[in-house]
């Protein structure tokens, strides 16, 4: 077999350049097809990553700890004490980059014009800044100063709906720890701008101020934590569960099954694209190769008349397509690497994202070079291309020498 390759490789190579136009067409079909798969894959990954990050950075974190029962019925009855020493130690894990505790309870906000249901979130601003992007998204006024700050920071859209604004007062109402209604007016000290859904739903105040309002002592509703490295997620969750066995420790995947599903759907989408590209490519390859084989019918007849076995003709023609498609694959890989490298500084989608409020992606995408999928997709295209080209090659090997020789004269 090695011998056969050595004999036919130069011949196959020269045959490629007999019809440069057709060779060029096949090269373009294969390289552009592969380029689109590779570039699209890295773009898609960057997109998924960015939109996941954006969502997780908002409030979710990579995971949260609650008292058992809180998730089913969030409220003053299902709170928990501040972290115990054991849990604090577990939260000090190097793999956890930051954590913060919050008081989160359902509430109602009221302005002169309207009453709307919201979640009141009591935060420690210093810790909160390290786990959430919202403190950085304050567009009017200021964020909270400390746990005792009794101003509120509300979403821009909520402010519009309430027809209120900076410097005005809103009334928050909720069930207090004693079971009685708690009601208090708060100064609006800041407005934040993220997506509408979040803006409408979350109202922030100092954690101690919130506890005071609800007549609580030091109870909290949740501990949110961030884990920069995806691979650490599962082991850290496990360690936290061990440290706080009677609490409800969840990763973002359990907290937001929809986001997790979107994430895996997006990565599955590349296979749809791969099959579209491959189908188009297959049509192109089969057509050009069939034409090439047909034009050379006489030559294949001659080769067989000279004593070349049909099997060898098949191998020779397959080697031609192996070289041709392989060359196209290399060009496609180079093109994809170049475009990933060119966009490595980030693709800024902020203008685009603003135009489409629906777009939940991060505003800057960072396409990354992922050697594993790069090689995998290239190999898949190469091998499938060769397999498809076997059909024209079979036609070539079936040329009858007599028929082929008759055709020429």
């Amino acid at each position: 077999m090695m011998n056969t390759i050595r004999i036919f490789a130069p011949l196959a190579w020269r045959n490629l350049w007999r019809n440069p136009r057709r060779t060029l067409i096949t090269l373009i079909v294969v390289s552009v097809g592969l380029w689109s798969v590779l570039a699209f894959n890295s773009f898609l990954n960057a997109w998924t990553q960015a939109s996941k990050d954006t969502t997780l950075q908002l409030l979710l974190g990579q995971g949260q700890i609650h008292a058992a029962g809180y998730m089913d019925d969030p409220g003053v009855e299902t709170l928990m004490p501040p972290p115990s020493d054991g849990l604090l130690k577990a939260l000090g894990d190097k793999r956890i980059s930051a954590w913060a505790s919050r008081l989160v309870v359902p509430s109602v906000v009221q302005s002169e014009y309207k009453t709307l249901p919201v979640m009141i979130v009591g935060v420690d601003p210093k810790a909160e800044r390290r786990v959430s992007s919202i403190p950085g998204k304050v567009v009017e006024g200021r964020y909270l100063n400390g746990p005792g700050d009794d101003g509120v920071v509300i979403g821009k859209h909520l402010a519009e709906r309430l027809k209120t604004g900076l410097g005005r007062r809103v009334i928050l109402m909720s069930q207090g720890a004693d079971g009685l209604l708690a009601e208090q007016s708060f100064d609006v000290v800041g407005l934040y701008d993220v997506d509408q859904q979040t803006e409408d739903y979350y109202v922030f105040t100092g954690r101690a101020a919130g506890q005071k309002f609800l007549r609580l002592k030091d109870e909290i509703a949740e501990i949110v934590f961030t884990i920069p490295n995806d691979q650490d997620l599962a082991p850290v969750i496990r360690a936290l569960k061990d440290a706080a066995p009677d609490m409800d420790v969840r990763s973002w995947k359990q907290l937001s099954p929809f986001l997790a599903a979107t994430n895996s759907f997006m990565s599955g989408f590349i296979y749809i694209w791969l099959s579209v590209v491959f189908t188009l490519m297959a049509i192109g390859i089969v057509n050009t190769q069939l034409m090439a084989v047909f034009e050379r019918t006489h030559e294949f007849g001659l080769l067989q008349a000279l004593g070349m076995k049909p099997r060898l003709v098949l191998i020779m023609v397959t080697m031609e397509s192996t070289l041709l498609i392989g060359l196209g694959v290399l060009i496609g890989m180079a093109m994809a690497a170049a475009s990933i490298w060119a966009t490595g500084d980030g693709i800024d989608l902020s203008g685009f994202a603003r135009g489409l409020e629906l777009v939940q992606g991060g505003q800057v995408l960072y396409p990354k070079f992922d050697a594993g999928s790069f090689v995998l997709f290239s190999l898949v295209i190469w091998i499938l291309g060769i397999v498809v080209a076997l059909w024209p090659a079979r036609r070539a090997s079936r040329c009858s020498p007599v028929e082929a020789m008759r055709m020429a004269t």
Binding site: R14, H298, L302, A305, G307, K309, P401, A408, T409
Partner: protein, 230 residues
């Protein structure tokens, strides 16, 4: 027993079937002997090409037997026929004999590669045979850079290089002018004398027949005459 390289017994070839059936060969009996320099003549459609294809194991008969060097074609598979051609037969066709992307030398080496010869030996034999047919200095030209006569010489060189038992040529001079025809025929004749290679040449051309030592005439798929002159 004769020293027949090829023997045909009751060979018939029918193309198509029913109304459209063409009897290209009818009950042909023929022995090609070692050292023959035979011409196969006859009007167009008389079956020359068909018969040469049988003798060269390119095709198999509809009925009757073709035996090449002791092997009956009827019993062989496609791959076995390939091997038989590779080892025992050399071909020179009317035109388009050469692989266009290969140089004269490479066209010849290609056949030796199929035989599994080593590189140095291939080189040597290709160079020698090209000198033999008078193409010294043109080894690296591609077919398109050679004249029709030179291309046919390469084809003859290729047919001979693996030292086959028999060389079959189907109208090898059809596209050549008379001077080139003369040269090519002299070449084949010389090779027949000097190397003892057996030639069977299908032709209309009187200049080719002049040199023949055996003249076979076909008519309507039958052998009309078979005369030795040399």
């Amino acid at each position: 027993m004769t020293d027949a390289i090829v023997s045909c017994r009751g060979v018939s070839k029918i193309f198509g079937s029913g109304e459209l059936a063409v009897h290209a060969l009818r009950e042909v009996d023929l022995d090609i002997l070692s050292g023959d320099f035979a011409t196969l003549a006859g009007p167009s459609g008389s079956g020359k090409t068909t018969l040469l294809n049988m003798i060269g194991a390119l095709d198999t008969p509809s009925s009757g037997h073709v035996v090449i060097d002791g092997q009956d074609l009827g019993s062989l598979s496609k791959a076995q026929l390939s091997d038989l051609r590779l080892n025992k037969v050399g071909f020179v066709f009317q035109a388009y004999n050469l692989i266009p992307v290969l140089s004269a030398r490479e066209n010849i080496e290609f056949v030796l590669e199929l035989h599994g010869l080593e590189r140095d030996e291939r080189r040597q034999r290709a160079t020698d045979i090209l000198r033999e047919v008078g193409l010294e200095g043109m080894e690296d030209r591609r077919p398109a850079q050679l004249s029709g006569g030179q291309q046919q010489r390469v084809a003859v060189a290729r047919a001979l290089v693996s030292r086959p038992r028999i060389v079959l040529a189907d109208e090898p001079t059809a596209n050549l002018d008379s001077k080139t025809t003369e040269e090519l025929v002299r070449l084949m004749y010389r090779l027949n004398r000097e190397m003892g290679t057996t030639f069977v040449i299908g032709t209309h051309d009187p200049r080719v027949m002049e040199h023949s030592k055996r003249h076979i005439e076909l008519l309507d798929g039958r052998i009309a005459s078979d005369e030795r002159t040399g």
